[in-house]
């Protein structure tokens, strides 16, 4: 599926102007036991350290249907995942809801979560996917050096965009 490149954060932030303190959710998902697959949870942990009010962070092994409840309870959701391909340090995309059928117990795409949130929990938040480039995915704990560098840059970018949304809403 082709997603639109995300270059409209100021517009997204503007659209939230007037909303008192938008609730922002950062879901980092992946398996920290598979080296750079842990980039998502690591990013969520870094964002959590900032201690912003109205920003909730969550780490998941994989996205699961239960996450739809939390997604629907927020105004803006940032999904953060590791990517095996693509640009370094990261790419950012806007997401739209899309139902998908899957037979696995805990393997949902963020678009499906948005669709479930809208269909069953009454709200589809603005949503974005940050894909941070990883390089090593073996059965080991810890990020590779290059992934760690990408993480720092991606967290910086994400922090600026979250901060922008929060500032505009004031």
């Amino acid at each position: 599926m082709t997603r639109p490149a995300h270059n409209d954060i100021p517009a997204a932030a503007q659209s939230l102007a007037g909303i008192c303190a938008p609730r922002v959710l950062v879901i980092g998902y992946g398996n920290p036991g598979r080296q750079d697959d842990g980039l998502g949870p690591a990013a969520a942990a870094e964002i959590g350290k900032a201690g912003w009010p109205n920003v909730t962070t969550s780490d998941d092994y994989q996205l699961v249907i239960e996450d739809a409840v939390q997604v629907a309870a927020h105004d803006v959701v940032w999904f953060v995942d590791a990517s095996r391909q693509g640009d370094a340090p990261c790419s950012v995309e806007c997401l739209s809801p899309a139902f998908e059928i899957t037979f696995t117990s805990h393997l949902l795409r963020p678009e499906a979560l948005l669709a479930i949130a809208g269909e069953h929990f009454g709200k589809i938040p603005q949503a974005h996917l940050v894909s941070i480039r990883g390089y090593e995915f073996d059965f080991l704990e810890g990020l590779s050096d290059r992934a760690r560098a990408n993480l720092a840059l991606a967290v910086g970018l994400l922090s600026r965009r979250i901060g922008l949304i929060l500032r505009v809403s004031r």
Binding site: N31, Y61, V64, E66, V69, F103, I116, H120
Partner: protein, 482 residues
């Protein structure tokens, strides 16, 4: 899905089981008369986690070991922590630590049983075993049966919140440490969970009532599907009551007579032996005194219900009595009864969570005990899918020198083979691997376990491959389900 047939009918293979995690392969062998002789449920992947653990510091193990499985990591976390209690010379952790661990465990069994019954099994039960594949998934359940879908989501989510409050994270917690726990339950978390727990108990009870209506409407299917008599094994408490966190081992034969009882987990090797077969990476544990042919057994919710003499929470105990009575008063042998039993365990866990949330010892500050270092730790816990044994040896440098895990799926290995064989004997007609046969094999396996990656110590999804072969092992047909 791929179907391959050789020109001359000799062997059938069915490959990939959909909502079972891991990678499974089933081989059905026919005899000279063309009847089902044997069914083998192979596990293809192997991760060798015991070897991976060797050389690690013992205190790292409770965190590392849970990478085995994305479905029941908490069970591995707690079993490893319990084993390492022994290594640090602690036979009894402080009450606050034990209650925190118990709360975490009940949260884990609650969320995992909810995943199993709602996300994985309910599509089969609600839409029918032979419903189109695109219909047999939790999203379809949510769309068609929104009330059940919401039970699924909120019960599981509640279990995850309990794990997060006790373990620090909803997946892969870090709080259980050798000798105790590293934090108590905050008042804020306690109060938040208290607000939800009554509703969760109500939903669990409603789910059981709904399932009983399915059983009433499908009596023959419920009793006969993949059914066979077997031994059962689980942990029980001192008086024989259900205890999913800590206790001693009890094994019953198919008539309900004790094979052994009140066996301390540290003595498991005197009673159990792990057999090996050339065609499977998964071991075949059996009761030593009975041998491999007679000594195999079943574990999991059905065994937990069959082996215990009571449950110490009122709704679950009433449900247990009804379960036993409606199934004739003796041991319940029906494979599909795993789901009924699973729902009773679900209620029990919700009730235990409520009980603990009103126990002030969870805010205690004595969290850690110490003792004289030992070289070995063995522990057992009733994981959502059954008895889980962790066994470690640790040297004087604090490094693990050997590890042996007998996970629930491994304990059920022979039982799953028997279930697949029962389905094949019932459903196989001629030499064709039909969609119905494939579906029914999945349903039988799923009654036991959605999580084969755990037993094989591999990670990932599980496709199913089924092969039919003739008496001399020559393949007749292969079918692959992605």
């Amino acid at each position: 899905m791929n179907v391959q047939s050789s020109p001359q009918p000799r062997k059938i293979v069915i490959d990939p089981v959909t909502r079972v995690e891991g990678h499974g392969k089933v081989t059905i062998r026919l005899n000279e008369a063309g009847e089902v002789e044997e069914a083998r449920f192979h596990i293809v992947e192997f991760r060798g986690f015991e070897r991976f653990i060797r050389g690690r510091m013992y205190w790292e193990v409770p965190v590392i070991i849970q990478r085995l499985c994305g479905i029941c990591p908490v069970s591995h976390h707690l079993a490893a922590a319990k084993a390492m209690d022994s290594v640090v010379g602690v036979d009894r952790v402080p009450p606050t630590a034990e209650k925190m661990r118990r709360l975490m465990h009940y949260g884990q069994v609650l969320q995992s049983n909810a995943l199993h019954i709602f996300h994985l099994a309910s599509p089969d039960l609600l839409f029918g075993f032979d419903a189109p594949p695109e219909q047999r998934n939790i999203i379809a359940v949510l769309n068609r049966f929104p009330e059940i879908g919401k039970w699924a989501i909120f019960i599981r989510k509640f279990g995850q919140e309990v794990i997060k409050a006790t373990g620090g994270r909803k997946i892969h917690p870090t709080s259980a440490i050798p000798g105790g726990i590293n934090h108590n339950l905050s008042i804020a978390d306690r109060d938040a969970l208290r607000q939800e727990v009554d509703q969760i108990i109500l939903w669990c009870s409603a789910a059981l009532q709904h399932h009983k209506r399915f059983v009433e409407a499908n009596q023959a299917l419920h009793r006969s599907f993949a059914s066979y008599p077997s031994n059962f094994m689980s942990l029980v408490g001192p008086g024989g009551g259900m205890d999913l966190y800590h206790g001693k081992l009890r094994a019953l034969d198919a008539t309900g007579k004790a094979i052994f009882d009140q066996v301390p987990p540290r003595e498991y090797r005197n009673y159990l032996i792990e057999g090996v077969r050339s065609w499977s990476y998964l071991k075949f544990p059996h009761i030593r005194s009975l041998g491999s042919d007679q000594g195999w057994y079943r574990v999991g919710p059905l065994a937990q219900l069959n082996c215990c003499t009571s449950i110490d929470t009122p709704l679950a105990e009433a449900a247990r009595r009804e379960f036993i009575a409606e199934n004739g008063g003796g041991l319940v042998q029906a494979t599909l009864a795993y789901h009924w039993a699973r729902l009773i365990c679900l209620i029990h866990c919700a009730e235990k969570i409520k009980e603990l949330l009103f126990d002030d010892e969870l805010q205690g500050r004595d969290l850690l005990a110490t003792g004289q270092r030992r070289g070995e730790g063995i522990a057992c816990i009733e994981a959502p899918r059954g008895t889980l044994i962790h066994h470690y040896a640790v040297d004087e440098n604090d490094q693990v020198t050997s590890a042996n895990l007998i996970v629930s799926t491994t304990n059920n290995n022979e039982a799953m083979n028997r279930a697949v064989k029962a389905v094949a004997m019932s459903d196989l007609s001629g030499h064709e691997i039909t969609e119905a046969l494939l579906n029914h094999i999945e349903v039988a396996i799923r009654a036991f376990d959605p999580c084969l990656s755990c037993a094989t110590h591999a990670m990932g999804q599980m496709p199913l491959i089924v092969t039919l072969e003739d008496a001399d092992g020559t393949p007749i047909a292969t079918r692959v389900k992605e």
